[in-house]
Symmetry: C2
Subunit: 191 residues, 2 copies
Amino acid sequence: MKSLEEKILKEGTVLPGNILKVASFLNHQLDVDFIMEMGKEIARIFKGEKITKILTVETSGIAIAMGAAAQMHLPVVFAKKHKSGNLSGDMYKTVVHSYTHGVDYNIVVSCDFLSGDDKVLIIDDFLANGKALIGLIDIVNQAGAEVVGCSCAIEKGFQGGGDFLRAKGIRVESLAIVESMSDDSLTFRSM
Amino acid sequence: MKSLEEKILKEGTVLPGNILKVASFLNHQLDVDFIMEMGKEIARIFKGEKITKILTVETSGIAIAMGAAAQMHLPVVFAKKHKSGNLSGDMYKTVVHSYTHGVDYNIVVSCDFLSGDDKVLIIDDFLANGKALIGLIDIVNQAGAEVVGCSCAIEKGFQGGGDFLRAKGIRVESLAIVESMSDDSLTFRSM
């Protein structure tokens, strides 16, 4: 998505530890009109697929999942990062390692909101080593549901998670793939 | 908002500790079409006001803030609940007590995303004792910006936070106000 690449070049900052900061439009401030455009693009890519539900993980995945869901008229389920007092009942659980924060955390989804009948599109803001998507795929599998595909706003191609999942036969569609980045340059994979 | 009251009656559950669980459409699964309708209602209520930015707090506030922002074509800033590795630079900070989880936590907003020129609409999913809104108002004040008003999906009127803020002259518009609730009954304030 050309406009996303341009926005990353204009507003993104590379921080130490291969972190791409896009706080001005995706991770702290949300450029909602632009996120709705990204949602439209995801809806276009997956047009014709039978999808019953969008799955994401809190926090930063929620906005782009909402953008796509608003176009596709689908519900979103967001996995929660810890067991909350508000989450009663049976839950699907898995462990995810956060590259950004350097810690393991549990993600949980109530069994009420994913079932064997669901055809699930998994959406997240970033795709790096793929650990978050692998965790979400595990949760869909626990529910006996089907993963139709995954879509991320920004894939860091050089961290390999997207290609690892593609090699396993999972459809992974990222709106922009950063092939390399450093303090003073950033290149995208041609798509 | 009549349709929200009906949805709360149909899908909400009262948990011990005065917790109203609406995980099926607002706090875990998101009924995105319905949230977009709630956003439309917030846009209608604040039509004519000069607003430059919507402020909310992660996690559950993001969806309804997105719904309103999509209608109003405004950016959303979501306050973060702890200092993250991805949040560099100067920040506005305040402490909020969570009624649901029984703990104090810090919320922070980067100084990059709120300035003295901003006219801010604060949006959240729930309004109970008002601590989250008071924290967000504090952050807007730290930025020297103006609070145009606050809007919440569900206010628990019997916990007093909304009326406390109204008595201070702040415009607080909730889409549904629960006046009383128990295991087997739930009444709304007439609006």
